[in-house]
Symmetry: C2
């Protein structure tokens, strides 16, 4: 299925023309707005795009290219009359469409899941399905939004000025290929916006809607909306499988770091590696055994735990998430875990050379690696249940190590780790029985 | 989709009536023949069965029950005229069929994949699709098989006596619901076998075929065929991800043990646990450190490695494989691995109390657990490629430990394990990059 992306407008309320940057190229967390739109649609499985440009179109074209490096195909169409209604922009895509298609706005960001739903919907050639948000979140500017009145699965009327309304137009459409006929008719009558065409379809009972179901979307018209979009996207980085320490301590910090990193030239795998190096350094400090180096080691452990969140966050912000990346991260984490415990044991060994210490260390290592080994299956359960179960993960372990170091109680910490990690593993064996 | 299973015959060539056991209840690796047929079909997603009984039908009924414990539904129909052609048995199922269905013989075993293919095939109500083996394996009795002549996707003729033929009838059919009309017509003319009906359909160009593509199937008419079936099923227990030690040393032994275990009252999880206990005992022996106990420990390590194969084998032979079972096995294996290394280190520590020994052991433990941690992703690659890659797995590790113990070179063994397991993990990180 193809997608048409409208990116012809000026964006007067967001700095153009003074800045010389057309709105679709304004950066949101390191990526131009329109690139985010296209990559979100790609995540939902769309591979072919028709981008309609107008104001400073050549800049957009230069920036996005033909899409080969993104594994998609982008075709450009120019609308020289971009100062008139946006219906004229859509009309320019007519020659490239031979089937139903997705219509997107170059300045509307959205959760890819919305498109996945839309792709599955069934419409006739002369019908259109519009995504409607019936419970707009607080970050939506209702003043400026196009409202809709609904009736029995259909949209009755659209308009910015509607007094009474049931929801808000998300600017995401699934269009039958015959939309261009209605579009042409409306334009011929001087009604040149897409909203005009939609009202035309609504009058003919051919405009349906599908609910956005609380998923993220936002229309970026102002600097303020852009800021709100960034905040909302960043908040979405917290994962359902995040442990309590991760959620309330690590993420708030790592997200701030990621926000900074996402605009820098650094790959997620490089961040993974840096987090690993910090762990190695922390293990060396811990192995020295004196109080000062133990404290330094403990703090570094917690820092590496925080940085460990950034690789995935940056990858998701850039639509670069990969199975290998996540796996590479998890394998290096296991080495880091092992080296940190080894550092602790060597540090303790300097005062107490006994065999029990080492046996504790071995068992703590086994328990630690086995909580990770069993995590995959346990996390699948958490996700299936909607993320309510208690999870003892790396976030908690690392915080425990820092705490033990600050209290200078590394021996009891080691015993605690040994007991807790192995009990957690046994608990999972029990909970998941019969799964 | 329903399946009709014909189980009315006498089985004169396989001991009945002297034994008092109808052929469908003859045990093949611990399970009655017909139960294997039904469970194979269940594995392919069939949940409703119509079983046509005749000779000693009440015994079959008693043995299988209504299928509730197997999560299926079995309906029984009796054919009192079981001494006549088997077409009469199929005819008895008529009232229970209202859509296309799978027709199976109660004495033909097969690979469930054959049924999975068949379920996807498209036929009309008056057509039949027969599975044909165009390259029968050496264990198929060609003398006794029903041969087929093929022509342009259709079957032209069937018969035991065909001189020239292109393949062999596997006794597995996908039937359109109108087959009963042709069946009745043929029976009315005195042609009472299913082969007669198939020849009738072939004459009307309504009999198609689908190739068994080298997959396992066998018609069990004689004691010899039963033995061949058992051998073939047992050989099929070797997995594509098996390492070289497993394939050529452990499996040949574990399969013999499983063959014995499968007829005993022991659950796969219990076998897993016994293998774990043997590992624990081996770790204790290794920790004693003297040569005799080291040898005993080393041999027990290899024995536990062999028993470790039996849980999965018995589960598969009984159609009891479960995701949890495999996972439970793998988690206990990791504990066993860890304890064995700990045992080795304690054993060595009795002669050499240095910290390096403990660090080597620690790193060997990390490497060992990480080869398992990375195995899942690596195994997926092996399976995708058809099982040709070198795999350093538990089978090799355990054999190395026994060898080291017999040679009384536990210290070098430990260093070797440390180096090899960590290199294997790094190699996997490299090989799987970009996957």
């Amino acid at each position: 299925m193809k997608a048409v992306v409208l990116a012809a407008g000026l964006g007067r309320r967001i700095g153009a023309p003074e800045s010389g940057v057309p709105k679709p190229l304004r950066k949101v967390l390191g990526l131009p707005l329109i690139k985010r739109v296209i990559l979100s649609a790609r995540e939902a499985g769309i591979r072919e795009f028709i981008v309609v440009t107008g104001y400073l179109g050549e800049k957009i074209r230069e920036n996005l290219g033909e899409g080969r490096s993104l594994d998609i195909k982008i075709t450009y169409v120019e609308n020289r009359q971009w100062e008139r209604g946006n219906g004229l922009s859509l009309l320019r895509a007519r020659d490239y469409i031979d089937d139903r298609f997705i219509l997107l706005m170059g300045d509307h960001l959205f959760d890819p899941e919305i498109i996945k739903d839309l792709k599955e919907a069934a419409i006739k050639d002369d019908e259109v399905l519009l995504v409607v948000d019936t419970e707009p979140a607080s970050y939506i500017d209702l003043q400026d939004a196009t409202k809709v009145r609904l009736e029995e699965g259909r949209i009755k009327e659209l308009g910015k000025g509607l007094r009474e309304y049931d929801g808000v137009d998300c600017g995401i459409f699934l269009c039958g290929k015959d939309i261009f006929r209605t579009l042409q008719e409306e334009i011929d009558r001087g009604r040149e916006t897409i909203t005009d065409t939609m009202n035309g379809l609504a009058r003919k009972n051919r405009l349906f809607f599908c609910d956005s179901r609380g998923r993220f979307w936002i229309d970026i018209d102002t600097e303020e909306a852009l800021k709100r979009a960034e905040e909302t996207i960043l908040k979405g980085l917290i994962k359902p499988t995040d442990g309590i320490v991760s959620k309330y301590l690590n993420r708030p910090i790592s997200i701030r770091i990621s926000r900074w990193l996402v605009e820098r030239e650094i790959s997620p795998n490089m961040i993974t590696f840096i987090s690993f190096l910090v762990s190695v350094v922390s293990a060396i400090f811990l192995s020295l055994g004196n109080y000062v180096s133990t404290i330094a080691g403990g703090i570094l452990v917690q820092i590496s735990s925080i940085i460990d969140g950034c690789d995935g966050e940056v990858a998701r912000l850039r639509f670069q998430s990969s199975e290998y990346g996540a796996w590479f991260d998890s394998v290096l984490d296991r080495y880091a875990d092992g080296l940190i415990i080894l550092g602790m044991v060597i540090g303790l060994h300097r005062y107490n050379g006994g065999i029990t210490l080492w046996v504790y260390g071995y068992l703590a290592l086994m328990g630690t690696l086995l909580t990770s080994y069993t995590a995959m299956k346990y996390d699948a359960l958490i996700r299936a249940e909607g993320g309510t179960r208690w999870r003892f993960g790396r976030d908690t372990r690392m915080l425990m190590i820092m705490t033990g170091a600050l209290l200078n109680e590394m021996y009891y910490l080691l015993i605690t780790l040994m007991v807790v990690t192995n009990l957690v593993t046994l608990r999972r064996l029990y909970i998941l029985r019969g799964a």
